[in-house]
């Protein structure tokens, strides 16, 4: 390891990044932590109210709806992305004709703006004239005059999971694909000689070898779920009512209602959840190793 003289030189190299990124982000967290202890509309002066916002939050029905939806979204999208990503990666690795085409199709949404994807889904999933219901009617799976409210109170969160999986499954696929490349071929050859079938090889070699990859994807999925905002805001806006709110859209609504102190308290809950879940997940996966 080479080291340069000049005690302050290194700080010149890192200063812009540390100040603009680290400084701004940690300052914002501190600011949010303080704001969460105040009654504040976001514009005029802040009134210190102690933990009142948190007390109110833990009594707020909407908070529990948003919390449950966030949990459902998190578990649903992490699971589906892992299962589908692994499946597609395993098949693509068999070097079947067209596997590069398939990989490109699944990866394409990652390059597209979630705002645009969300808008396409919003109109596609619309209850009366949306293309999904029209397609189902054409296929005879839905009667004339029948509608499925894909973005309604019952199915909204599931549809948002679908949009999330559409957007990010290609990511799990690529990460699994990279992981598959590092499993030595002779493991499979030996298993095949022993007469292990495709499923047996999948469950006894592939999945255990990819444990590290899976746990990285779970960590990123957990944090990613807490970051999810646009695909909800631009489809259901958390509605109808508050039924499809995630924590992030609930926070945004409260901010729009000029409840900056209260919405900062929601922000702190999201932040603590992101850090705690990430740390717990990383600890758990380190212990397994």
């Amino acid at each position: 390891m080479t080291s340069f003289t000049g005690r302050w030189t290194p700080f010149l190299y890192i200063a812009p990044l540390v100040v603009l990124a680290g400084g701004l982000l940690y300052y914002s967290i501190g600011f949010a932590a303080y704001a969460s202890l105040t009654d504040w509309n976001g514009l005029t002066s802040m009134d210190f109210v102690g933990l009142a916002n948190y007390v109110e939050l833990f009594r707020d029905r909407t908070f529990y709806i948003a919390l449950r939806n966030t949990a459902v979204f998190m578990v649903g999208s992490v699971l589906l992305q892992a299962v589908l990503g692994l499946l597609v990666a395993v098949i693509a690795k068999e070097r079947i004709a067209g596997s590069n085409f398939f990989k490109a199709v699944f990866f394409l949404p990652i390059a597209m703006a979630p705002a645009i994807i969300a808008t396409v889904f919003k109109f596609m999933l619309e209850g009366n004239y949306g293309s999904v219901n029209q397609t189902l009617r054409t296929l005879g799976l839905l009667g004339e005059g029948e509608n499925i409210q894909w973005l309604g109170a019952e199915l909204g969160v599931l549809s948002i999971i679908v949009i999330g999986v559409f957007s990010w499954m290609g990511f799990s696929m690529m990460v699994y694909f990279a992981g598959l490349m590092s499993i030595p071929d002779d493991l499979y050859e030996a298993a095949e000689l022993d007469g292990a079938g495709w499923w047996r090889r999948l469950f006894s070699i592939t999945i255990p070898s990819l444990r590290g990859t899976t746990s990285v994807l779970i960590t990123l999925g957990i944090v990613g779920s807490l970051k999810t905002f646009d695909i909800v805001w631009l489809t259901t806006q958390g509605g109808p009512g508050v039924s499809t709110n995630l924590l992030s859209t609930f926070l945004y609504q409260e901010r729009q209602n000029r409840e900056a102190g209260y919405s900062s308290a929601i922000g702190m809950v999201i932040l603590v959840a992101a850090f705690l879940l990430a740390v717990v997940q990383i600890r758990l996966s380190n212990r397994e190793k």
């Binding site: 080479t2 600011f31 922000g267």
Partner: protein, 266 residues
């Protein structure tokens, strides 16, 4: 080389082909609907629209994404060089504190960001969006660059040091020339991530003429849309996706390897 038997092959195509159809369905719908009522006229109408200016939205996105990318490439590689090759007080703590920022959801700090940017008088100013975009995206690029720099052999640096090269000289003449693909990767990632961002511009830009594409989508919508307007909306969405598709086609390799590396080395 294993030979795959027919039955499993059919099963594999059924699974992957079925999924690919599901993935192509929304794109197919958007294309079909953009022509269904109004045909090419929808595209003409979107390019000559009262409230929505396609070229300005694209230009605005380019400014935001380009500015953020430039700042990230310069400052992430400088900082990565220091974190990789220099010794200084608090290095590990600082680096870990920066990496922890990867877990911060944008939504959780929008109120402080809004107030801070407003205090600096940078609302409705691209610099006011580029700074937070930089803050939220630079850390993963720092991680990628540092991992890359860590792999550059020490012997090269030692030889140059003996020849009397300064730290900045070594960065410029040894590290950067060996980092073409890594720099391309972080450029593409920064560009795509900032281009796709919605929440930050939506928070900090309220002037419709300044909207990047992600915000401009709203300009094509209203409460009661006619079939024709929906056709125009889809046409607009497709037109606004074209730059992303181009970036994707020309940089697929960097995008895929970068995104994967960011995950694996976390």
């Amino acid at each position: 080389m294993r030979t795959t038997k027919l039955a499993p092959l059919v099963a594999m195509y059924a699974v992957i082909g079925g999924l690919a159809l599901l993935w192509l369905y929304p794109i197919g719908v958007a294309l079909f609907e953009s022509f269904a009522v109004g045909g090419w006229g929808n595209y003409a109408a979107v390019l000559d629209h009262d409230t929505f200016d396609y070229w300005s939205a694209i230009g605005n996105s380019f400014l935001l994404a380009g500015g953020t990318t430039a700042a990230i490439v310069v400052f992430a590689s400088l900082a990565a060089y220091a974190f990789s090759r220099m010794r200084f007080a608090g290095k590990t703590v600082l680096y870990r504190a920066l990496l922890a920022c990867l877990a911060i959801p944008v939504a959780s700090v929008i109120t402080p960001l809004f107030t801070t940017i407003d205090d600096f008088g940078l609302r409705n100013n691209y610099l006011g969006v580029i700074i937070p975009l930089f803050a939220f995206n630079v850390v993963v690029m720092l991680l990628l660059m540092k991992n890359h720099f860590d792999g550059i052999p020490t012997e090269l640096v030692e030889a140059a040091t003996i020849d009397g090269a300064s730290p900045l000289g070594i960065f410029w003449r040894i590290f950067l020339p060996l980092s073409g693909p890594a720099l391309a990767t972080i450029s593409v990632l920064s560009f795509v991530y900032s281009w796709n961002e919605y929440l930050l511009p939506n928070l900090l830009i309220s002037e419709p003429g300044m909207y990047p594409v992600t915000q401009a989508v709203a300009l094509l919508q209203n409460e009661r849309m006619s079939q024709e307007q929906i056709g125009q909306l889809y046409a607009g969405l497709i037109l606004m996706t074209i730059p992303s598709v181009f970036v994707y086609l020309f940089s697929q390799r960097y995008l895929q390897s970068g995104i994967t590396a960011g995950a694996v080395k976390n």
